[in-house]
């Protein structure tokens, strides 16, 4: 049960404010914002998502730079409220197509309408875009999506939210296309986030894949959909589903450590043939979240060498090799490496003739940055950086520099080899375009 819900801009302006129970004083938004902004004097630490000021519990989630906040005086389940806030953001996005301060301001009447149906007197009613459709009458005013990229593999990476994927599809579930008729479409994204940690010797210390199958349906009439996954997929570490556990890791079986499913998914035949049957509700939702701890081949291999060159100089050689096929290209690749704090200058030397690469030495936080717009599979890139220090070197320069961290996105490639074999829509007429995007976002820490 919550008392108030509000959305604040980054500057702390009220964009939407709804008081459901009148138990919390009206100034709560101000109190909240001041607290979040000045959580610690040094500004180093972020405020936790849940905190309490004078008996009022404040919950917040950050979505595309906006703060979605709920307040209550009751000791509720924090997951419930945080989950709800996230869901409200998603429902609003489903309706408005684009979630931004601008679109919220233009559509606040619609947003209020939604909020009235989602929560009544502090109790959650429904967050299903599907159900809400029949209660909502305002038409969304679609903000100009032109400045957003047209749909395409790259577009899905435009908005860099790490965990809320699928921001690519900026179409409202209710608004009509300019052409009039709605297009029958369904999007399935397989998004995998991998974390890999290398030791200085290049040995993999930890590796994990957090994946999600995200669906966004624009189909009318809500047909049933069957989603077939790899047949050799097994779940659990060989324990619970021993009969499916055909072979060792080497044979290429995809083994999920654990997964969970959206409530609309029927798992009746999942054990048999690894198909998920569902009637997709309108809007965006995760069909399935999964996690793999099985070893996999990391897409990039990083090699970092630091050589001393005199008393106050050193050279850093960073080599990155893409271990995926050459028909695939990674984009927005960024490597970062903290340098010793007494570094005063860094001059960079890229390979001759390369384009689309940018290097930078951030003097304030003593960081080396290397951006690569594109990274074609199978290729190796090298960066040489000459560092100048303000003081004489200590014995352990390697301790002061690094670790190298890397972020990138590789479209149309997933490391887990989890695949959607087919997507069947149980509807005879009307042509549809089942787009399948495989997005793959990785973060890697490498220690040298």
């Amino acid at each position: 049960m919550i008392s108030q819900f509000f959305v604040l801009s980054q500057r702390g302006d009220n964009i939407v404010f709804r008081d459901y129970r009148g138990e919390v004083a009206k100034g709560s938004a101000e109190i909240f914002f001041r607290k979040v902004k000045f959580w610690k004097e040094d500004g180093q630490e972020e405020a936790p998502p849940v905190f309490n000021v004078d008996g009022v519990n404040y919950f917040h989630v950050k979505v595309v730079g906006l703060l979605f906040v709920a307040t209550t005086r009751v000791n509720v389940s924090p997951s419930l409220v945080l989950e709800l806030l996230q869901r409200i953001a998603r429902v609003i996005k489903d309706y408005l197509g684009v979630l931004s301060e601008d679109s919220l301001r233009k559509n606040f009447v619609l947003v209020y309408e939604l909020l009235d149906e989602v929560i009544d007197f502090g109790y959650m009613q429904t967050t299903s875009t599907e159900v809400l459709k029949s209660y909502i009458f305002n038409e969304p005013i679609v903000v100009d999506a032109a400045r957003l990229q047209p749909l395409g593999p790259a577009a899905i990476f435009m908005q860099g939210t790490k965990r809320m994927p699928g921001t690519a599809i900026t179409k409202s579930v209710v608004a009509n296309e300019p052409g009039g008729r709605k297009r029958e479409e369904i999007f399935v994204d397989i998004i995998e986030k991998i974390s890999v940690t290398f030791s200085s010797s290049g040995y993999i210390l930890t590796s994990e894949i957090d994946g999600t199958i995200q669906m966004k349906s624009y189909l009318t009439g809500n047909p049933e959909i069957r989603l077939a996954l790899n047949e050799d997929l097994s779940i659990g570490r060989g324990g619970e589903l021993a009969n499916d556990y055909r072979s060792s890791y080497g044979s290429g079986a995809v083994i999920l450590y654990d997964c969970n499913f959206h409530e609309s998914v029927h798992l009746d035949s999942f054990d048999m043939d690894r198909t998920l049957a569902l009637v997709p509700p309108d809007g965006e939702f995760p069909v399935m979240n999964y996690r793999m701890t099985q070893e996999f081949k990391p897409p990039f291999h990083i090699n970092c060498l630091i050589e001393e060159a005199g008393h106050i100089k050193a050279e850093v050689i960073l080599k990155v090799r893409a271990e995926f096929p050459s028909n695939i290209t990674a984009n927005t690749v960024v490597l970062e490496m903290p340098l010793p704090k007494y570094t005063t200058r860094a001059s960079f030397e890229l390979e001759p003739g390369v384009t689309g690469q940018r290097t930078d030495f951030k003097g304030a936080n003593k960081k080396l940055e290397w951006d690569l717009e594109k990274f074609v599979g199978g290729v190796e890139h090298t960066l040489r950086a000459k560092l100048t220090f303000s003081q004489e070197l200590h014995a352990n320069i390697t301790k002061e520099a690094g670790p190298v961290s890397m972020t990138f996105a590789i479209p149309m490639y997933n490391v887990s080899r989890l695949q959607v074999k087919y997507l069947q829509i149980a509807k005879k007429s009307s042509s549809y375009n089942p787009y399948r995007w495989v997005r793959y976002v990785t973060q890697a820490n490498s220690y040298n």
Binding site: N75, V76, P78, S79, L82, M288, Q443
Partner: protein, 879 residues
Amino acid sequence: MAPPAQSQRSPSPSQPSGVLIMVNSKSEVSDLKLQLRQLAGSRAPGVDDSKRELFKKVISYMTIGIDVSSLFGEMVMCSATSDIVLKKMCYLYVGNYAKVNPDLALLTINFLQRDCRDEDPMIRGLALRSLCSLRVANLVEYLVGPLGSGLKDSNSYVRMVAVMGVLKLYHISASTCIDADFPSILKHLMLHDSDTQVVANCLSALQEIWSAEASTSEEASREREALISKPVIYYLLNRIKEFSEWAQCLVLELVTKYVPSDSSEIFDIMNLLEDRLQHANGAVVLATIRVFLQLTLSMTDVHQQVYERIKAPLLTLVSSGSPEQSYAVLSHLHLLVMRAPYVFSSDYKHFYCQYNEPSYVKRLKLEMLTAVANESNTYEIVTELCEYAANVDIPIARESIRAVGKIALQQYDVNAIVDRLLQFLEMEKDYVTAEALVLVKDLLRKYPQWSHDCIAVVGNISSKNVQEPKAKAALIWMLGEYSQDMQDAPYVLESLVENWDEEHSAEVRLHLLTAVMKCFFKRPPETQSALGAALAAGIADFHQDVHDRALFYYRILRYNVSVAERVVNPPKQAVSVFADTQSSEIKDRIFDEFNSLSVLYQKVTTSFSQPFVLLCVTQIIKESRLTDIHKYLQPSYMFTDKEHRGPLEFADELGNLSIGEAANNVVPTQMVEENDKDLLLTTSEKEETKGSRNNGSAYIVPYDGSSTSVFASQTQIESAVSNPTLAGHSPQASFAIDDLLGLGIPAAPAVPSPPQLKLNTKAALDPSTFQQKWRQLPVALSQEISVSPQGVAALTAPQALLRHMQSHSIHCIASGGQSPNFKFFFFAQKFEESSNYLVECVINTSSAKAQVKIKADDQNTSQDFSTLFESALSKFGTS
């Protein structure tokens, strides 16, 4: 609907910009008013569209906090329309202003009631919701009718709204709600309605109403109990998959309170809910887990299996979802890890921090890593933690180092950890060095066998590079403790003493005093001058504790160097156990409140889990803030605080909690002190000490023997003191130290005021009479008197005492003895009377005590004389 209209404007009505907006908006509002009026009666085509535009404008003003309540009449007039969008906006507007304008609200009743009978169920529902949201007490009579028919409506949307309407009505006027018998209608609906959201709303409403009523009505509390009866629970559980995910949480929360009759029932429920663990909504999963954990509490084996079962879903939830959601789940995981670390010890890699995680997540993970460390994974965990030490996020880097230390103290694989810690010291980042120093100190207290390795590295650290008080104190402690192993310890200490005035932290100065003392006993010639300087500076220190300690050291040195050594430098005992942060009882209570804010705050709410009693959380927070303050307060203050607190049940628990935390802060220090036997007093004891000090006894600060083990050392001194044969020290030696240190004690001890007994200044008594009387008279009084250090010093020439006593009309008839024991016989005569007082006084210079026996002709005045004698003796050496 409540845009913070008032709050936004009211704080700054006087600000020019605020006024400007007001003026502008005022004219715009009157503009709107005009336009609305024109449209109100219009039937022209397209009028609805223009109305929509206007309504939108009104509502946008409302949202940004401009008061548009003056448009109330016009808005209501315009709402006579069939356009549902318009209606909705109008309801929104009405709901916002009705409460502050009850008279205007009356205007709306009419059209809302009419809309409640509309043929469109949407409009019926919306109107009913608006009607109930007016929150105006004198309008409740208009609610009962529409609510009653709403609950019977054929459309589930209307029923759903009506159920919440009942709850709203209850909050406006409980009696109206009860009188209309709405709760029993809700109960019927809950058990029979086909729509699950109606059922869920009934459940929410009934829980709230009956919980509130339960305090006054027995029937209500029976009804509340009935909600968790078997039929209701089973009815809800069997339909659980039809409920929305939010309603599922509600049902699961209810199930938590249900007590199954036997284990087969428990297994039935768990099997039924098994697949809820795979839900993508974290709230559902956590609610399910809570049910599982609660159900199996008494079944140890199954409980264990539950841990195994929920592990994977929890870890998946942590890695899917937004960082905020992860945090909520992670907090719960944290709780479970703390409860059963061994279950998670193989999953430690999941608790590795990622560089881009917010610090509140990292902090939880660090604690979990610390908790799950065992023989098999310590090496990996510590390796990982060491990487964080170079983290750009300095607070996290610090905590990682602390975590390494904690693991080291937990016992596993100390060998590897010591190496790492020592590497930290070589990293030359000041905060890393600082944290590592503190850790090495703790480590040495537990594992003195590592001293050799550690000292070699610590010795290389320049004290100039260490600025943080805690780290500096740790370094100084080690300098003192291991001064025999560190070549230049005395010189480092000396330079620190030289900069005494620049040292702002009392903690550091206290440690410095002790360290110099320790060093002195190990390497006297090199430390002598530093010790003198330190004691002089310490005694002149403004800080009470520093002053007291310096004085104490000075006096004990004066008294007897070997005793001092035993006090300051006793053989060390390794610390075996460090205090736990939270009592297990509190952990249990938090566990009982699984899936609530208690877990995130790591604080207990209340044992009576009434989610609707609002004050509880308010209180916790007050409490929790107090707790923070308490950390820095003395324990004794906490009790006073607690007494001031109300009779609320949990006040007590939280009181305990805060004490627990404070104790946590205090205990480690206490450990050092106790262990060192070097008389570092914890705050509460200082209080006592100060108190008794003012009572004016001159030499050793008296200690309250009833106190804790910290006083072991004091007891030791006292026994040494009371046994003069132990003390083989001459007053000359003490004097020598005094000279050596170049000190004079400025402070005069307090003296009891002389009583009204006058003595004959020219008394005379011949020795034989004295002897005779001494034999005849019984001992009237026998006591021990302290002699001031100055007095003891002055006793090198006993004649001085005789002259001194004579000036107080107490005459000496015989004296003798040699250091440390002097014996005197005194006599005195009462003024203008022939009543005699005879005194035998044995002064021991090493204990600075005088054993006095008094005999008197007139027994009644012997007490007065004794006081007089004591006063005279205590003044010896000061005048």
